[in-house]
Amino acid sequence: MNIVVCVKYVPDATADRHFESDNTVDRKGVPGLLSELDEYAVEQALQLKEKAASGDGGDDVEVTALTVGPEDAAEAIKKALQMGADKGIHVVDDAIAGSDYLATSQVLAAAIEKIGDVDVVMCGMASTDATGSVVPAMLAERLDLPQVTLGSVIESQGSGDSWEFRIKRDGDTATEVIGATAPLVLSVTDQSGEARYPSFKGIMAAKKKPLDTWSLSDIGVDADKVGLDAAWSAVEGTEERPPRSQGEIVTDEDGSGATALVEFLASKKFI
């Protein structure tokens, strides 16, 4: 079985994030890292590998971590390799900067096609910068694969190239069980299970794992189809929201806190 796990390199969500003057996300002024939500995808890919390997057939599974992003994005791949992925592919090209979801998904899909013979495309539930939760569905559309997304529980059964998947999907109004046969696109939520930390051994081993760099021409995508100028939507303006200013803080003493709270709510007409 071949698993490709799509990982994104994002500005640290706990830092002060900003935009550049061209309204693209500032990816330099803030330290970047492997999107925390994609760690769950790497974890599920590794669990799948371990499960297949321990099955009757003792299947050989290869987990490839794939990212589309600037030079630094190789860091996201390295983290995935340290966690246990077998190899990495980094699609990097100046022309990609400023791409929208459509272009990003096109580049990812082309890279997945070039990797070839992929059984599972594993994604996170959302990137922590764009928070679109759309790329996995777009990959399913582009690759014409079943879309089995936002799984909080992932179950699989099979061997060799023949695998069935079932996920639990917690929707707005219902919890559903979604089933499909590989090859497919899976995405997993942060409820799917704690992601492992790289071990010392994993960190050492990662240094020797292959990490290939591909350009757009390597995957046969036209440079003028991607990037900021080719995007099908445009940011017209960004505005920093003024920080909230702290209001009144009271310390509760013998019930004074509750009284003050109720007074405040009443003064705002919430009662």
């Binding site: 759309v134 017209e236 509760d252």
Partner: protein, 325 residues
């Protein structure tokens, strides 16, 4: 005027409030056409509901061949309706910004070769008349962004509470639409479905007031629920409370839960981590009860009580109930 397609968000035929918000927004952009994908026996109620909020047309699509599959068939339906409208197509396609809606929108954008904007919190007609301008709230609510679709039909997913629904009678002309669903859209099957139990409280996404609890509740949510009920509020939670198994994930507020923007948000025993803030810091008024005066949540509050929630909440609830008489 061109049609603006609105995908109706409904639960077994019962139209949900975000649909009325989308119809209200659609009126700013053109003529609202609702797209109802559902059971044949639910059509009358749904049509009556969207008529009240200005739908001029209702495309009725029988879901017999659709409901057993995830997302993909619905994208095909919208594609086929949009293509039927000819070269100029719809002026925009508005879709509720929930998990399913965003995925439908993503697939549709590829099919129609059109630009996509997700999670809009406002949409207005542009002055020059060249398509809608959207407002989004990004980076955990620390920025607002104005954007526009520049190619094809603007496909926009709109978050709940983005507009106050305005009643206005539309013609609600019904058109049965027979969609052709491809085999490849049927590859991901819904094997089982368990509707979420109604809590009797307002929906988290739609509520004017949200009262939430975190690790500081120690696992007993009854005090949070008591305060919520006295205020007619929805109940929410931090991830720490969800991860501890105290309350289902559907109640989680934050980056990986729901993003809410109510008139009033009351955080109890919640420290205010950035991932939690991402889900609530655009609330109009923020109140917190926390026993640690250093808790970061206090940086955002309009009013804060440093104290033990186990004493403050029951006392406040009792006082509110007394005032209400």
């Amino acid at each position: 005027m061109s049609e603006v397609l609105v995908l109706v968000d409904h639960l077994d035929g019962k139209v949900r409030k975000p649909t009325y918000e989308l119809l209200t927004i659609a009126k700013r952009l053109g003529e609202p056409s609702a797209v109802f994908i559902g059971g044949a026996d639910k059509v009358d109620d749904a049509v009556a509901a969207v008529k009240k909020y200005g739908a001029e047309k209702v495309y009725v699509v029988d879901d017999a061949e659709i409901k057993g599959y995830l997302v993909a068939p619905k994208a095909e339906v919208l594609q086929q309706i949009a293509e039927k409208l000819g070269d100029s197509g719809p002026a925009a396609i508005l879709i509720p910004s929930n998990a399913e809606g965003k995925e439908i929108a993503g697939r549709l954008a590829i099919k129609l070769e059109s630009g996509l904007i997700t999670d809009a919190v406002d949409v207005s007609a542009s002055e020059g008349g060249e398509g809608p301008v959207t407002t989004q709230s990004v980076f955990a609510g620390s920025y607002t962004v104005q954007a526009k679709v520049t190619k094809g039909t603007p496909i926009i997913t709109v978050k709940p509470n983005s507009a106050a629904p305005e009643e206005s009678e539309g013609k609600a002309e019904q058109e049965e639409f027979k969609a052709t669903i491809s085999d490849s859209a049927k590859k991901a099957k819904i094997v089982a479905s368990q509707p979420r139990k109604a809590s009797g409280r307002p929906e988290l996404n739609e509520a004017a007031i949200v009262v939430s609890g975190g690790r500081g509740t120690g696992g007993d949510f009854s005090e949070v629920e008591g305060l919520a009920d006295s205020l007619g509020a929805a109940v929410g939670a931090s991830r720490a409370a969800v991860d501890s198994g105290w309350i289902p994930h559907a109640f989680q507020i934050g980056q990986t839960g729901k993003v809410v923007s109510p008139q009033l948000y009351v955080a109890n025993g919640i420290s205010g981590a950035i991932q939690h803030r991402a889900g609530m810091q655009t609330s109009k008024t923020i109140v917190a009860v926390n026993k640690d005066e250093e808790a970061p949540i206090f940086e955002l509050v309009d009013f804060g009580v440093v104290g033990d929630l186990h004493t403050v909440l029951p006392a406040a609830t009792e006082e509110i109930n007394k005032r209400k008489g």
